[in-house]
Symmetry: D2
């Protein structure tokens, strides 16, 4: 109940610090009978792993996942699945400076205020490394959703001033460039921008877009647990996310009802369609069977080598140059984290859909 447990049915409990022995997650509520191997999880972990691009921290971590429980003879047993990833590369480097001051943009100050002291090694629990556990659990959620035909695709929409051109969208391209951009040209422009930012010892932010196909209609709860509210919470829980919007999003504030309403129409084959998807696939908090579309704004990496003003605990104003290994941009590595949080949210509400109707419950039990 202190923030590290997520989910209602497929419930995950994550743990671990940036420079501790290991990180991990315990999943309680994964149904029995799903074939699961470490490879299923590893492939997603490899997507967020550091040290794979000129734009991510050179810190080398194998990030190998180990399944400690909950799987027997290749299948989930329905009991808790415990996953662990050991930290193998915490450079034993001097944190005495950082221990005494507050890095701008980081949670150093707020953790001290909240807990009275903090694990200052690499940010401790507030480090982005914590997302390793989310991605591991999310890989299982994605595997389950795939069995129901639900496909989650996130990608980098923009980096600093460089946005993708929808006309040049290529899904495969997401995996072909370091920046997880589905548009090769934009990726090249963004890379050039990042090289320049790096030289200035600065960092950049960007946007991630996520599209979910195949989610049936009727998923989500009314009032407080609207599907967009729950997805919003999940995405905003990722460090560095400063905003989230669904469908027409912030533009809706400037549109009129006539412009923003999605008109229903039956096509020639009599299938229900919509003439637009400004709703982003969610109306009244419940999925309408059309693609779920949302975007997240990611702030620039807080750690920069450039000299910054800040204070120390001795009550002095100081100038600080943050040492260590940083990503000039974290957006590309956050793409898989967005997919993971989306999957963890959807698997819960997809299952819960059964409880909305007595006929669905009877289908399962009688």
């Amino acid at each position: 109940m202190a923030g590290s447990i997520f989910g209602k049915h497929f419930q995950i409990s994550t743990w671990g610090e940036s420079h501790g022995k290991a990180l991990g997650v315990v999943i309680d509520g994964c149904p029995a009978g799903i074939s699961l191997s470490e490879e299923d999880i590893q492939k997603d972990l490899d997507r967020r792993k550091p040290g794979q691009s000129p734009f991510s921290t050179p810190r080398k971590e194998s990030d190998k996942v180990e399944i400690l429980s909950g799987v027997f003879e290749g299948k989930t047993t329905g009991t808790p699945i415990s996953l662990i990833v050991y930290n193998t590369n915490q450079r034993s480097y001097d944190y005495s400076e950082i221990a005494k001051c507050y890095r701008p943009g980081h949670a150093d100050f707020t953790y001290d205020e909240k807990y009275g002291f903090r694990d200052y090694r690499g940010g401790g629990r507030s480090s982005g490394r914590e997302t390793t556990a989310r991605v591991a659990a999310g890989a299982i959620a994605k595997k389950i959703l795939a069995e129901f035909g639900v496909d989650i695709m996130a990608y980098t929409l923009s980096i600093g001033p460089v946005s993708i051109d929808p006309a040049k969208f290529k899904r495969d391209e997401i995996f072909n460039n370091f920046l997880a951009m589905p548009d090769q040209e934009a990726a090249e422009k963004a890379a050039a921008y990042l090289h320049e930012i790096k030289e200035r010892e600065d960092s950049a932010g960007g946007m991630i877009e996520c599209v979910v196909n195949g989610l049936p209609s009727g998923v989500g709860e009314p009032v407080f647990e609207k599907l967009d509210a729950m997805l919003g919470k999940a995405i905003l829980s990722i460090g560095a996310v400063k905003g989230v919007e669904f469908g027409s999003g912030f533009n809706a504030a400037r549109m009129t009802g006539w412009e923003n309403n999605d008109f229903f129409q039956y096509d020639e084959e009599g299938h229900l369609t919509k003439l637009s998807n400004n709703a982003g696939g969610i109306v009244g908090g419940i999925s309408d069977g059309f693609p779920i579309v949302f975007r997240a704004a990611i702030k620039p990496t807080s750690s920069i080598h450039r000299m910054q003003k800040t204070v120390n605990k001795a009550g002095q104003n100081i100038e600080l140059q943050v040492e260590g290994r940083h990503d000039p941009i974290i957006v590309p590595r956050a793409v898989i984290v967005v997919e993971a949080m989306t999957a963890l949210t959807l698997v819960d509400y997809l299952f819960e859909r059964i409880f909305s109707r007595i006929d669905l419950i009877k289908k399962a039990l009688l």
Copy 2:
């Protein structure tokens, strides 16, 4: 567990449909010893009440709240507080048309898909009227927060193309115009825009900004229950909200680390300050003691008189003109709902701050 319960400690359970006998809320977890009267709650309900402006539905509702339990001799007892508001003005009007088709922008279709059928009278549970219960509970949360020096202020930031001018910000003005805008000139421009929109039988959207002063540092939980994630969920759970952003929000995606980081400095008196508040008062999901600032995008009202394309349940494409009494803009009435949801979220996490540290727990119990 089906969406109508909100909160961890100050936990509310809301109920009621647009055209049912009544709406209400049960609050479990309100501490004992708080003086509470129906007036304390009524003053907020009066802020969202319909029929008060040329831009809100003429439906007349007294929206008088009644306390049914949990208060004894003017004080909360610590046991559940049950609040009820009777529906007095459900115009007995013909819903047979709406029962057979799906209104664009409304939850008619998604509710049918989820539940198999729906209460089609005025949107049933999906009606904005549901927020009456939120505002009633929120008024109590706001009263508690006030005892801790926490002040919540929400207002209309923009309507369609018209935004307020920060230089002309006047808090009192929020209560002086029909549009809850803290800038009189902007309010007049927006009113003119709305008259035009109304003539075109269309509707408008807008943005709400919320600023929280006096919240101590150290409020919020790490990882999944970051304060911005929880506030985001709360705000996105309000029907018609399509996006939410904190501090520099979506602009952060275009800024650099140097531009976006808030530098700490001690002022002459040795008080800790920040040279900017791009974080919106939340870092690592925990409050830093500076103002909490966020914005929500509200879509234009879905109900418009203008003829729209849609389908009926008989499988036909039809043209629909939505009858009835509608707001051409719901933003001004949503302002108090944003305050309520903010208060309901903050009261939970302010209390929970105690559990973060053994010294705080001892202060209370030993």
Copy 3:
């Protein structure tokens, strides 16, 4: 989160005091599509209603239930069901004495200690009258369970020294005598005992047994949410219950493994049977498809007219004679409360069984 909310999926939030305006319950998570009327609920309320026997308080309450939301055209909509029962007979009688002292056996002292003050009118929230809301919600849970073939039967097993004779068990008899005993002779003996107890201005306790037939195997969760643990919590949450046991219960402490183990056997038709049911239908916290059997011990009514020693808030030792209208025995009226709490627990875990296996989830959704 302060004790008045029960359940995981079929989640109820109860409210109301003995001498307040009304009592009620909000049910969130009742599936859509169940036909429901006030009569369905009233018939169970009538079983716990006071003033129906020489052994229950003469306080007259119609206890008429009203459905305020969540039902449309005779069917549940899947949104919150709000039920209310008005208090019509709070005798305006003088509580000034009770306000100043602590009645032995009652929660007067503990409520003052916990909340700092209390609603002293008839026990306020700690009154047994609170169970009205449980029975109302339980009636709906029982109706749902019946659609799955689950039958719950509770009855008075003993009153003071008088126990039923299993050989004379008649289910109909439960409804034929004032004491809800399935054995007419025992009921007559118990009635004689109660008349004597009443003359001594004292009160009696007893035991309730509950048998559940038709619950499928595989219901219940491992480790902390074993079906017996959850039923135990539900039953122990009924005021006056001092103990609960399952199957062979406390006798198991004296038996050997050989005596207590239930041996499986296939009968002639090849159906799986057990040669005994010492487990009470639950093994490892999960139902085995045989009858669930448990017993609860109910303490004697705390309110007695006989003079008792106690203290007042002025720090004095006093003698107290509790005025007012009391049941010399509450066991018979508690029988329906036991059924209600059993139903509320089982409906949750029966539904949750679906989430244990991916094949059941697919049966419902694909």
Copy 4:
């Protein structure tokens, strides 16, 4: 949400099977600032460790606990504490027989029914070995409670027909004999009984009593989360527990109100006392400041060498002799598990007491 998570604030998530790589627990919600070492936890684990007495399984397990996160510089950080215990002695022995049949008294059948298949190695998740994680987490809860003066003492009350003599109660004796009995003579009689039971290739059950001193008044919530209901759930969640009773317990069913009510009296020094404690320190679900007293009935170990009747999955009635290493009695090893579950429950409700009153919340925050 599938049974392996316990607690509201000090929330634990346990995992692991009898013959898996390891078992463990993640604790979310442990306050920051508590000094904690592996030794603090190990000393309780050593109390439940197998192979320490002639009456426990000869399976040798070091059961060494390792802290993987949540502790920095000897103090809890307020973030998740992950504890792991490796299984070092899973004898690689032939389970092919057990895989095909159902052991009487074990969860083999119910797990197959619930999950469709099971990890048959030593009972998998249903093994008593799962309690290792409870004891590890409970040790931390006990350490916190000790800082508030709360002392938990559980012991063996009876084994088969042999009960302790209250007149001979010696607390130290609990740690001096293999059976955790506070009465040396009774321990010797019980040992003799167990030797005889062992020779008959049978097993025995018994009772555990738990007494909590120093718990302040006002702990516990009304209605559904009464302190006795929550303790009851916690204790009944321990495998093999068949019943639980508080204070006068099942005897209360035979007592009269006059006999069972605890009369309050002020003593010479003016301290409030009670002339009896039939309530077991809990009235209306809330602690009254007097000792909490409850008892649990433990069934005899299900695994016995003696030949038993059962069935196999091939549909045949068979005779089964359960091989392997079994405890003829598990009561003594369950004593520390009872203490752990009691501590885990009390720490939650002790903390929650703060939320009952606005004055306590202000004491902590203002």
